[in-house]
């Protein structure tokens, strides 16, 4: 039996279902809610429901979207023959800040990781391959992070995509512009050296 009154116990239980929230944090959050002004709590509840009800995933690129297809996919000015593959929706925001890339995106929603039980069937890979069957498709830019999982997922995708006759490229990684050699972390400097280019 929970030592708390029913509604409080229920609130704690809901917080506990969130990722990364343990029993203690759930209790702390619940007690915080009890001390919040009622209006703030009401606004919080509305934001939760509204976000969930009005947002879903774009049926084309799997990005978070307000409608069936997201703003990028429905923008006629974007190049439709280029797809940039990212692991998470937040990576799209990073690429968009470049104001350079004019193609479309595809969100995998994760990376291959047997340790976490994640295989191709848990990622939005089949959906990507479907999109590539369009004959006008020219290039897939794989923009996963340069981690072991990111690199392996890129390798897996390349094998899957190349037989379809689509060019596959991968983001290069190197020194940040304006970064000083002395302060660069060793791994960054090392990969910048290994992928150095002719002047």
């Amino acid at each position: 039996m929970s030592p708390f009154p029913g509604p409080l116990a229920a609130l704690i239980a809901e917080f506990e279902r969130l990722p990364g929230v343990g029993v203690k944090s759930a209790q702390r959050l619940a007690f915080h809610v009890l001390r919040m002004p009622v209006d703030d709590v009401r606004r919080f509840g509305q934001a939760l429901t509204q976000a969930r009800e009005s947002l879903g995933f774009c049926r084309v690129c799997q990005n978070i979207s307000e409608g069936e297809t997201c703003e990028i996919c429905s923008d006629p000015r974007r190049r439709a023959d280029q797809i940039c593959v990212v692991a998470e929706p937040k990576d799209i925001a990073a690429m968009e800040r470049l104001n350079e890339y004019r193609g479309l995106y595809h969100v995998l929603h994760g990376l291959l990781s047997p340790l976490d039980g994640i295989g191709p069937e848990n990622l939005k890979m089949r959906e990507l391959i479907e999109r590539l069957r369009d004959e006008s498709m020219q290039e897939v830019v794989v923009a996963t992070n340069p981690t072991v999982e990111g690199d392996t997922t890129a390798l897996y995708l390349a094998r899957l995509i190349k037989p379809l006759g689509v060019r596959v490229t991968r983001l290069a990684h190197g020194m940040p512009v304006g970064g000083e050699l002395d302060y660069a972390d060793t791994a960054t400097l090392l990969s910048a050296f290994e992928y150095r280019r002719e002047l």
């Binding site: 191709p120 072991v148 390798l155 094998r159 899957l160 972390d185």
Partner: protein, 358 residues
Amino acid sequence: MIARLRLSHFRNYESIEVGWSPNLNLVVGKNAQGKTNLLEAVFLLSSGRVMRASQDARAVRHGAESATVEGVLQNRDVLSVVLKRAGRKTASVHGSPLRRASDLIGRFPTVSFSAADLALARGEPQDRRQFMDEEMSQIFPAYLRDLTVYKRALAQRNALLKAHAETRLEPELILPWDERLAEAGSALREARQEWIQELSPLTSAAHGRLAGSEKLSLSYEANDEANDRGGFLGALRSRLSDDLRRGRTSVGPHLDDLVIAVAGQPLRHFGSQGQQRSAVVSIKLATLESLQGRIGRPPTLLLDDVFSDLDIDRRDELVRSLVQLGGQTIITCTEESQVSADLLREANILRVSSGRVS
């Protein structure tokens, strides 16, 4: 080399600052007063990790939330590590945070020796692989990178094998992991073979000075035939059904060993305790020379309480070989009388008593 060390809330120290000589430093004190903790703080700045197989949280002084270790090197670099009772440790250079604490490796090279290193002669293959991994990571950043990639890819491949113990595994699912493993694994094995080839004659020479006529040799023992990327991939493929049954990978440098032999006999099975000790000291001295050759300056040598184990002759010979190398040396011992008078005159002596240094 290190010029100054500041500790706060590290192990049994509340807040101290210590100056180091570029030559010989003696840390003298009775047991359990904090001598080894000083040495460990220096090692932490060099490696980004605590020395003994313990958790970061244990290194935080009782009652404190975090411990800070800061070192000023002779080249004026300021390295620091903050250990937390809860949460990840952080490291920085001149106050700029590094991505990982292991990014400190290579900035302040050290070679350490304590009684626990006797596992190099006596222990399991794993102890010798750890020795190669630690020392080589200081010299070659590419080695550290390949090692990190290899360990992660190996864990992922083994998880994949276990998940498919009962169900069919599509070849294209394991192939990308095999490629990562083959690339990093063949690079690791090749680098280790090269380094051991360089270390073997240096070790023999050091051993000759320390222990006389018995010939000491090192050889790298690969677990399998795979010695390039292609061979590695082939071996992974041909052992796949075996690996699936066992749920782990049976090819690769994570199964290799370093064979230390005296007069042709593997030390691990045949050596006496005395032979094992002089072999390990010789390997450490050779490592020091190798690092010095590679990085162009002598690394700092950290010796934790090795005198009590050695007889007078070997102790003097050891100290003489160290002084000859001309680098910074930090030695802990229980009595000043363990060191000869002429060396004491040149040494910077730090007396440690219940968390205080004078």
